[in-house]
């Protein structure tokens, strides 16, 4: 049973990609319909997987001795991520029907979106490190293709290439770790590695652990690899919802959660993970405060919330991190799709030109405020509960500086969230526009996601049961116990107070203008990305000049290229003959 559902969850979106592409760009209505059908079918089969989770290997494809077997396992953690990817992916596809109406090359768009969804499901459901790497790379490729979808726009192309390069460099860490594991244990099975991790020599384990951390940090846009995510906002908004809420950035957090039992004994690893999480959360929150592009604010908030998830893993609680991933996927998708509705209606992403939209777009305002409330951590929305869990785990098991940093981060989050909501929906209109509220194809996913934001925290009990089978050391807990624990914990009051402080700071911003002036230098640094963008530009400049210098060797004549190859072969032969590799 599980085998069938796994095949359907990965195969249906991929089959849909092929079918939509073959349908041809002359039939856009057919393409829209087919994409929705296949995405929803994938989502349904993902939900069906929830009923058949087990830690046993569900599908095993022997492919010869060299690569081990290709296995797929439907355990709780993997199924959870597959469900997130396919369900939110299908909502994004439904949203695209309206958002991409009239756009050209829909076949390319939908094919890559569906490929993406299938690849993410495959990444979560596979039990072989080699297949994990394969799906990792497929998500990198499809995300590049989607970010640069408007390939006549140089900013989009540049954003796509940046995302590709940074995530690929991270992928090297994953590949290196996988190869080292295979070299030592003789198997690519994740379960074999988790069981036999103690047998590895300590320094090897450290290399693998930090290699995986680099890969996860690059994929999930953690510092210092966070620069690609804001530039990836050039993608069409449903794609941003897909990449930044539902799928790709969750892959890094999933990697850390999956391999945490093997790496927690590596000295310094958990501290490094927590440090990465805290630094990222604070850095991104600062950058969100000064950003004027609506999607950029959401991008920075994604990075910041991912920092929370990573920090939770650094404190040893996969449950907290995955629960926050759950809430975040729902409310971040809601925020992105809401922003998409706004951008689609107004035509610009600049918040300074918005304002007063609440009157024209009441539905969007309501759902956006719900999502923003969850982001800020206002009860009883799902973001509040999951963020509280993260903070509590941080207080109980993590370093104190981490907890304080995350608390400050919560306050900053509330501040920039209030700023974003106010600039877009309230106040006096700063631009001239005729707008309309969201049409049905856009409204349905928005309403569904808003309903989710209000209610998914109730699923804590079943959620912990789901994960308890997959992650060692995780205990099932009922929703009621969890709720009462959070409500009665004094740390909760502290967090609520900080959030209230953040909201109040925005409200009273005119009175606080003195502080704002004092922090102006910090604000400017934040706008420049705290120097990380400068590093990127420097690296790019060096590469460019090296490439220009080497251009002279490219004569373009095939015969000379072949002569080059022949010359290299002769050199290799001489080395072999001389060095005596016999």
């Amino acid at each position: 049973m599980a085998a069938t559902f796994i095949t359907l969850t990965i195969g249906l979106p991929w089959l849909g990609a092929l079918v939509v592409w073959v349908a041809g760009d002359q039939r856009p209505r057919a393409q829209h319909a087919l994409a929705v059908v296949f995405a929803v079918a994938g989502g349904l089969s993902g939900l069906a997987l929830l009923t058949t989770t087990s830690s046993a290997v569900a599908i095993r494809l022997p492919v010869g001795g060299a690569f081990g077997d290709f296995t797929f396992v439907a355990d709780g953690l993997g199924v959870f991520l597959a469900v997130v990817a396919t369900v939110i992916g299908s909502l994004a596809v439904i949203f695209s029907v309206e958002y991409m109406k009239g756009e050209a090359q829909l076949g390319r768009y939908y094919a890559f979106v569906l490929l993406f969804i299938g690849a993410m499901a495959g990444l979560a459901l596979t039990g072989s490190l080699l297949l994990l790497f394969f799906f990792w790379e497929v998500t990198a490729l499809t995300s590049y293709a989607l970010i640069s979808f408007h390939n006549d726009d140089p900013k989009a192309v540049a954003g796509g290439i940046k995302a590709l390069i940074i995530t690929q460099l991270g992928g090297v860490g994953l590949l290196a770790g996988a190869l080292l594991i295979y070299a030592h244990l003789g198997s690519y099975e994740i379960s074999a590695f988790l069981a036999g991790a103690d047998a590895l020599p300590a320094d090897l384990r450290a290399i693998i652990a930090f290699g995986f951390l680099i890969a996860a940090a690059a994929k999930s846009a953690q510092a210092p690899f966070h620069t690609w995510l804001p530039d990836a906002m050039e993608a069409p908004t449903p794609v941003s919802a897909l990449i930044h809420a539902a799928t790709m950035v969750n892959a890094g957090v999933y990697l850390l959660a999956r391999f945490f039992p093997a790496f927690e004994a590596v000295p310094g690893w958990t501290t490094a993970v927590a440090l990465v999480g805290v630094v990222t959360a604070l850095l991104a929150a600062c950058m969100a405060i000064v950003a004027n592009d609506l999607k950029r604010v959401l991008a920075y908030s994604t990075v910041s919330q991912l920092g929370y998830m990573v920090f939770a893993i650094g404190c040893g609680s996969a449950l907290a991190s995955q629960f926050h991933l759950f809430s975040h996927a729902v409310f971040k998708a809601l925020l992105f799709l809401g922003a998409g509705a706004v951008i689609h209606a107004i035509g610009t992403r600049d918040m300074q030109q918005m304002g007063g939209l609440g009157k024209h777009m009441p539905l969007v305002r309501v759902v956006f405020v719900i999502g923003a409330g969850a982001l800020a951590g206002i009860p009883p929305l799902n973001g509040f509960w999951s963020k509280e869990l993260v903070l509590e785990e941080g207080l109980a098991h993590g370093p104190l500086w981490g907890y304080i940093g995350m608390l400050i981060g919560a306050g900053l989050t509330a501040f920039y969230t209030a700023r974003m909501v106010w600039l877009v929906f309230y106040g006096e209109p700063r631009g001239h526009y005729h707008t309309h509220d969201a049409r049905p194809a856009m409204a349905v996913p928005l309403v569904l996601l808003a309903a989710g934001t209000l209610t998914t925290w109730l699923l804590f009990g079943p959620f912990s049961a789901l994960l308890a089978g997959a992650v060692p050391g995780l205990h099932e807990e009922s929703t009621l116990a969890f709720v009462s624990k959070v409500v009665t914990d004094p740390a909760t009051l502290l967090a609520l107070a900080v959030v209230a402080l953040g909201l109040l700071a925005w409200q009273q911003r005119s009175r606080l203008s003195g502080i704002a002036a004092g922090l102006r230098a910090l604000g400017q640094a934040a706008a420049q990305g705290f120097g990380f963008e400068a590093v990127n530009r420097f690296v790019a400049r060096i590469t460019q000049s090296a490439a220009t210098a080497l251009q002279r060797t490219q004569t373009g004549e095939l015969n000379w290229n072949a002569a080059g190859i022949a010359g290299a072969l002769i050199i290799v032969l001489i080395i072999l003959a001389g060095g005596g590799i016999r």
Binding site: G556, L558, N559, A563
Partner: protein, 103 residues
């Protein structure tokens, strides 16, 4: 000469590879280059089979040769389609004139 069949085959491999490289360096017609690629592939196949014959592992060697045949036929197909398109667009198959990739 009392060379074993395997030795003769390996000698053939070396000579064919050399001929193939000469062809790569000297051929001017795009389709002639594809012919040269085929020759190089045959040399590689012969090398695999010679090694397999020496090691008594003909099953493995033959499966690799089948892989090479498939791959290199696909390469020939695509290369010929490309050559046809090149001829249509640029009007010439002369490799010296097709220097769009000049850096």
């Amino acid at each position: 000469m009392s060379l074993s069949p395997i030795a003769i085959a390996l000698l053939g491999v070396a000579i064919l590879l050399g001929i193939g490289f000469y062809g790569l360096l000297v051929a001017r017609n795009l389709i002639k280059l594809i012919v040269v690629l085929q020759i190089l592939a045959k040399a590689a196949m012969l090398a695999f089979l010679a090694a397999g014959s020496a090691q008594e592992q003909m099953g493995l060697a033959q499966s690799m040769v089948v892989t090479v045949i498939v791959a290199d036929t696909v390469v020939a197909v695509i290369a010929l389609a490309l050559a046809v398109q090149v001829k249509r667009r640029y009007g010439t198959l002369d490799v010296r004139k097709l220097t769009n990739l000049r850096g």
